[in-house]
Subunit: 142 residues, 2 copies
DNA sequence: CTAAACCATAGAGTATACTCTAAGGTCAAG
DNA sequence: CTTGACCTTAGAGTATACTCTATGGTTTAG
């Protein structure tokens, strides 16, 4: 199989050489070395980088991607393990969506309550909310 | 007005002394100093910390909170400026929600396609997707 | 053979929001 | 006056995912 250097792989993959070395430190990719110490990547390198890109797009961390790659390489890999990690990611996504929805709703409510004109912000409902918060409706005005 | 030390404010606010000093470095809060150099916080300190907490909950960064606090303190503050920053936050929240929805949908689709049993993951559609990606449906199998 | 282009390493810098450590000064009680 | 609690500063460490710098070795074209 053809062996390529880090610069070539970098160009082919669009992943910087620095990042390739970083991925190697994290154990995501393990190139062979030439006699002089140069990294030599095999044909699986592009496939691995593709895998990493896909997983990153789904908000897997590099740590998690490392786990998945290890699963992928292992003989004892089970789909169940992958499914479990995926389920966790779905839950995380749902929680974040929920949180962001709450934030969006609140910001929109505040926006509607705001005159939005050039008057002073001293009585701005947005700043007011940020100060007093949604938890304690009526704090003393200090 | 009563002046309190950093330890007292920390206990009253639930914000660590380290964090209070950090906020000061960022210019969010500016206590006076005693002759010996001790920080002395006025009655507005708790109000400011409350403001920071509220804004953080709405995903404003400390930098953005600093801007808002400056607006709040300024005579020329306009509600319009606050409204503009809030609108930006709403857009950001919407974008993140959209992205997470895509991710969630994809993960769920992959989960449904996965047998989820104890068989080998060599043909797992999830790993397969991560490798080949949603963009190029049929890459060479390396 | 030399110069350019490429590769290697270790370690620091980026961004965000803290958190902790070390070394030392201040304050209140007994 | 000493002890302990509290305060000060500068700077390093944490987490994530890179990115850059410095210094020096390798490879390839002319």
């Amino acid at each position: 199989m053809k062996k390529i250097t880090i610069g070539v792989l970098s160009k082919q993959s669009g992943v910087s050489a620095d990042t390739l070395r970083y991925y190697e430190r994290l154990g995501l990719i393990k190139p062979l070395r030439s006699a002089s110490g140069y990294r030599h990547y095999g044909s699986d390198a592009l496939r691995i980088l593709c895998f990493i890109r896909g997983a990153k797009a789904l908000h897997f961390t590099l740590q998690e991607i490392g786990d998945l790659l290890f699963l992928d390489a292992s003989d004892k890999t089970t789909c169940a393990a992958v499914l479990k990690k995926t389920a966790t990611k779905i839950r995380e996504a749902e929680e974040k969506i929920e949180e962001l929805h709450e934030i969006k709703k609140l910001l929109e409510k505040l926006t509607k309550a705001c005159p939005g004109d050039e008057t002073s912000a001293e009585a701005c409902p947005i700043l007011d909310h940020l100060c007093h918060g949604p938890s304690h409706k009526h704090a003393e005005h200090a």
